[in-house]
Subunit: 123 residues, 2 copies
DNA sequence: TCCATGTTTCAAGTATTATCGAAATATAAA
DNA sequence: TTTATATTTCGATAATACTTGAAACATGGA
């Protein structure tokens, strides 16, 4: 994942409403939710909802599929995976800042590295 | 980490210049870099640099310490860790979207869960 | 004290983003 | 075909964010 695309994804999630939308879609699972259900759950005006769904779609974090009269949106887990990979590869020190939950379970020594590991870029 | 704070951190990183600043500080290690060195490396006008450093500081992703006439900024790894934890806990499906590099090394079965795990919220 | 250097703050201009009512489009049911 | 429902697009407005030169502030050296 290139830096620009990472920044765009981060910016997309860096808005409370869009973050809430994304979380709702993640919770909903691969099936996703009708656009209207998202708007209802979060109390959003249709135009506002559409604006944010379009934004999330544009950066690839969610996908919409038409199903009869409805449009179901669902989270793209692999896009989120790439984003997390970008953060761990480029924005962590070794893997020092991986979630504790992961590190505690992970024998990989990079999980608790020396204080001053150096560059680990991916792009 | 609450949702609002997560959104603020994501938004802070969701800007190419700030993301570049943060990456540079991560690469620099715990010592960090003088503000001026960051500006020079990225070709930023002093006021612009200061604006973005202040933004990243405000959300807690970096810290500045005065050292003689200079101010050294360094990445706050634990803040990034919390952010990644938030994303894996709230924006992934189980841990399905953790980076492959992590999952490949990790015996935790949640790394490759069934397709349709349900809600796993943290807040 | 005066000067040089590093950094921030201020102020102003520009650009981008968010919101939402109203109109348009699409699909399906009557 | 008409009507109803779901969603998007349009248009206008308001709010926020970004950039930068210039001025202010802070620190250390002469």
């Amino acid at each position: 994942m290139e830096t620009l695309s990472a920044a765009e994804s981060l910016a997309a999630l860096g808005h409370e409403t869009r973050l809430a939308i994304f979380r709702a879609l993640v919770q909903a699972g691969p099936e996703g939710l009708k656009a209207g259900a998202v708007g209802e759950a979060l109390g959003l005006a249709p135009a506002t909802l559409s604006f944010h769904l379009a934004h999330l779609s544009r950066v690839g974090l969610i996908r919409g599929r038409q199903e009869s009269r409805f449009i179901f949106y669902s989270a793209d887990y692999s896009a989120m995976g790439e984003l997390i990979a970008f953060l761990t590869d480029n924005c962590c020190q070794g893997k020092a800042c991986l979630p504790n939950a992961v590190c505690a379970e992970n024998p990989d020594p990079r999980c608790n590295p020396e204080p001053a590991c150096e560059g680990n870029s991916r792009d």
